[in-house]
Symmetry: C2
Subunit: 222 residues, 2 copies
DNA sequence: TAGATTGTTAATCGATTAACAATC
DNA sequence: TAGATTGTTAATCGATTAACAATC
């Protein structure tokens, strides 16, 4: 059936990363609008106006989620939020382990917002015996030597690294060996992984550079 | 003098943000190479090979810093690092204040690496009287009510926000009123600023979405 | 109906990638 | 010299923006 083939091709169509990054921003905005004001319908014009994104881009972004709007009215807020949730797979949460229960690790453990985005950090691991056995933000801290076994037993797929730079590669290797297939790297160093393993490196230096370059150009202009 | 005009036009030429984000990655890599192995010259081919970036892009990126390489040899590592430092303005460090000395704030205060990128967080502010007067990672914590005065007196231009979402806008307003012109926002909420003020929002939800979508597509394919 | 908004196709813009002469 | 690499110009690719018919 030709119609089916077209549909299959469409599902394979690549998702632009910039769009992907904007979707949670729309979602956060919609949730706010939903809670604070009881609005039933919202237009791309209004979303764009409030978020400083041109309306055409908002529509293009939302298109990918298969959200359907009504001409003149806009999108039904609840439906739109559901479309985003659905598209991003927030219906079924993924469980993750975090290694390195320092300040940064604790900050992440304490951020309950991740659950909303389908991520549940269920436990943390550390090398420091003083931390092992305690809880941070209600999450248990285990000895790092339990990591391999627990990843395997629980079938955990996502690992979060918040260790000092010197330990990041070692932790990475343990995680991958145990079956982790996606790593969120907050350590201030590059990690090497075999092809196929997904890495998201949160590089603060890159962000800082963008900020300070913009500032430098601004100060220069004034 | 026409030559001069062309030069002026060139300095105004916009810098692609992706390039800007990659420059510190090259720099981190070069520093590592410089310390671990005593290499004098390095080629775009080798840099690209190690960082998974195609060599043409490496050359294009480095071109913007006015770095000059030698055919057959590559770039002088020290010169290249200097060119990047110079282009990004890391020669003269900028001082910054941080507001919100929680786990995340403490993590940022403790990361000495920022100094290398031209940013020096010189003090922090908090509302919690138990924290005020203490130091975190050697940085003094002041009462939030001193913020306006100290920004003005010291002419601070960069503010970092690591408060809970509920306080972020209030802190933003105080900062801007006192003369801050660039804000690095780590709070889990959007902040509104007047046009002209630079905001860099570290949105973890966006990063998480990219990671988990990649994972979902990977798991689906296997 | 008139007007605002959606959905979709086309045009533009900018970043990435390719090609290749110049050079050490 | 031969071969690898740079520097620069051109081609490609993908995201953003524009245009406009369809629609409520």
């Amino acid at each position: 059936m030709p119609g089916n083939n077209i549909r299959n091709l469409q599902t394979v169509k690549p998702i632009p990363e910039p769009t992907l990054r904007r979707l949670p921003i729309y979602y956060q905005y919609l949730k706010k609008m939903c809670n604070e004001q009881k609005i039933e319908y919202i237009s791309a014009t209004q979303i764009g106006g409030d978020l400083n994104i041109i309306p055409i881009q908002v529509r293009k972004d939302l298109e990918i989620t298969d959200a359907v709007g009504k001409p003149k009215l806009g999108y039904n807020v609840i439906e739109l939020m559901y479309a985003i949730e659905n598209f991003l797979g927030w219906n079924n949460t993924t469980e993750a382990f975090l290694v390195g229960a320092g300040n940064l690790g604790s900050a992440l453990l304490g951020y309950n917002g991740f659950k909303e985005y389908g991520l549940n950090i269920i436990a943390a691991f550390d090398i420091d015996e003083n931390k092992v056995g305690t809880t941070v933000e209600g999450k248990m801290i285990f000895n790092i030597n339990k990591l391999t076994d627990m990843i395997r037993r629980m079938g955990i797929k996502i690992g979060i690294i918040t260790t000092p730079p010197g330990n990041a590669q070692e932790v990475t290797d343990i995680m991958i060996d145990a079956g982790i297939c996606a790593i969120w790297n907050f350590s201030h160093t590059k990690i090497n992984v075999p092809t196929g393993v997904i890495v998201q490196h949160e590089n603060l230096a890159s962000s800082l550079v963008v900020l300070s370059k913009k500032l430098a150009m601004f100060l220069q202009a004034n």
